[in-house]
């Protein structure tokens, strides 16, 4: 049984299609391993009983033409799942049971996959370590008391720990790529407008994107193919020609021009990150690509811009939590008192902090100085990329400025926590696709990732580069099962 959970998504799909495994075999194996993995705290809500019923039903009349035939899958608890509790990691949604399904998860079930459960995340996806979740922090399968990154920390932990063959996360400033890097897995943040935001608990609407988190690039391409669809229910969904990403995947990247931005060499960056980057450049050359030094001059302004834009949008989006229509309600002496107590008791410290920042930068007298200024700098950041893409096909950078850190290490200093996303945030601000692939280990043996950033709608290209480099890197994740009871 234990061998089943070690298989990649692609292998599992093949084995189910060849009838070497049934959906029940596979679902049972992942449920059993998930049950033994409670110490990781990767799940907020499990749906195991129902998953097993669905697997049995699938096996009675298997449709093997589907892309994810009978594959069990846990998803980030930010996706609304019909009749299955969806909390966004928050007390304020502790009792929320959606009456509808998100488009992205709907696409997944439509291709035959089966919901295993809902995975832990930072509250409203606001965090870089999964420590802001109301349901407790998540352990990184790499080592005890190590954060898995965030906000899709439960998702990263579940894939690296083999509790689910693959998963989906969401990425507003790095929430797929940073945890993927911290846990030694692959994570793709698609182009803004590629995957529908319908039914995803909103954080910052102009930045949020759903994307796959997987053990390898091929699995990642397959899931991207399933989740990326045009959706009229999301007004920012874009109707463009979507590739059959997994079918069109190729390791032939000969002659591709890959940009190396000098501004990503930041002060105080550990030598092992610089070394990893240099190794990455060599791998890209070994694959036949050409590397070119480029400049993205406004890179250092991306984080300050993000910490205006994202909280501003969040403060607006989170105004809906008023204790009236759904979610937690506190008792109050009157309506206003009820609102204020509900939000004070229902939101955690980080979420309150961001709502306050957002409210402040949008408030009368400060709008121009902060919000409008940030929108202008955002334009400059996007222009940097547009300029660079006249000369190159993709850009290669480290995914994070460090490897995973210890639980509690950065919780008292919000700015040092925010600096985690220094290499990922510019990609969201410019609406581009970016993929993090595991590329090596630091001296402590913790995984490190490299990020490949693409042109808008050019997911196929960065998947191809990642696919080619993955073979050269030949990364092996060091999972010891230390948490298994």
């Amino acid at each position: 049984m234990s061998d089943i959970t070690k298989q990649s998504l692609t292998e599992l799909v093949e084995n189910i299609k060849n009838k070497k495994l049934s959906s029940t075999d596979v679902t049972k194996a992942f449920i059993q391993r998930s049950e033994k993995s409670s110490e990781l705290n990767a799940y907020i809500t499990d749906d195991f009983t129902s998953a097993l019923d669905k697997a049995k039903k699938f096996d009675q009349k298997p449709n093997l033409d589907l892309k994810l035939p009978g594959i069990p899958m846990a998803v980030k608890d930010l996706f609304c799942t019909k009749n299955v509790k969806t909390t966004a990691g928050s007390k304020i949604l502790n009792n929320f049971v959606p009456t509808y399904e998100s488009t992205v998860t709907e696409n997944i079930w439509h291709e035959g996959a089966i919901l295993l459960g809902k995975l832990n995340c930072d509250e409203f996806a606001m965090g870089s370590s999964n420590e802001t979740s109301h349901f407790g922090n998540v352990q990184n399968p790499i080592d005890k008391n190590l954060v898995p990154g965030g906000s899709s920390g439960g998702s990263a932990s579940a894939v690296a720990g083999q509790l689910t063959p693959i998963t989906i996360g969401t990425d507003t400033g790095g929430s797929i790529r940073q945890p993927a890097s911290f846990t030694g897995i692959v994570g793709l943040k698609p182009t803004y407008g590629s995957c529908s935001r319908y039914g995803i608990v909103a954080f910052a609407s102009s930045l949020d994107q759903a994307g796959p988190m997987a053990q390898n690039v091929k699995d990642c391409a397959l899931l991207q193919e399933v989740i990326s669809t045009y959706d009229s229910k999301d007004s920012t969904s874009i109707n463009f020609k979507r590739n059959h990403y997994s079918k069109e995947l190729t390791k032939n990247i000969k002659g591709k021009k890959i940009g190396i931005p000098k501004e990503y060499r930041v002060d105080g960056m550990p030598k092992e990150i610089e070394d990893l980057w240099q190794k990455g450049i060599q791998y890209a050359k070994d694959c036949g690509a050409e590397t070119i030094d480029i400049s993205l001059p406004h890179t250092s302004y991306a984080l300050p811009t993000y910490y205006i834009v994202a909280p501003a949008e969040a403060s607006s989006n989170l105004a809906r939590y008023d204790g009236v229509k759904y979610g937690y309600r506190a008792k109050g002496e009157n309506l206003i008192d009820m609102y204020e107590k509900t939000r004070s008791e229902g939101f955690g410290a980080e979420v309150q902090r961001r709502i306050m920042i957002g409210t402040y930068v949008l408030s009368s007298g400060y709008y121009d100085a902060y919000y409008l200024k940030a929108q202008k700098v955002r334009k400059l950041i996007k222009n940097d990329f547009d300029e660079a893409y006249k000369r190159v096909d993709a850009i290669l950078t480290p995914s994070t400025p460090s490897s995973a850190f210890k639980i509690g290490e950065k919780t008292n200093d919000p700015v040092s926590m925010y600096l985690n996303d220094i290499f990922t945030v510019p990609v969201n601000l410019a609406g581009l696709p970016g993929i993090s692939i595991p590329a090596g280990h630091d001296t402590k043996g913790y995984p490190l990732g490299l990020q490949i950033i693409g042109k808008a709608f050019d997911e196929q290209n960065i998947l191809n580069i990642a696919f080619a480099m993955e073979e050269k890197i030949n990364f092996k994740n060091k999972i010891t099962d230390w948490w298994i009871k």
Binding site: V97, T99, R353, Y360, P414
Partner: protein, 95 residues
């Protein structure tokens, strides 16, 4: 620039999040360190830059104004903390 307790109280009121004295002090500290970091943007001259308001740079599509979800009253009310027949219940507003 420095965010004082009075400003914190003002933002907390606008945000509809009640904050006691102790929390307000902590929030003031946090926000000041975050804004110190944000001030970096003032290094840039942006007078002639057009703000980026939509990342996709496309105009939003119109759709016809038609009802697609019918009879979902029960679904809408299902998650409310307190309801009475077809209505959400809130603390008394009019004396």
């Amino acid at each position: 620039m420095s965010i004082d307790l009075k400003t914190i109280k003002h933002i907390s009121k606008l945000s509809r999040i009640s904050v006691d004295e102790k929390r307000a002090e902590k929030l003031a500290d946090d926000l000041n360190s975050i804004f110190e970091f944000i001030e970096k943007l003032n290094e840039l001259k942006t007078d002639d830059v057009k703000p980026l308001t939509s990342i996709a740079e496309t105009t939003l599509k119109f759709r016809s104004d038609e009802i697609k979800s019918k009879n979902i009253r029960e679904q809408i009310i299902k998650n409310s903390p307190e309801d009475n027949e077809d209505y959400f219940v809130v603390p008394k507003v009019i004396e």
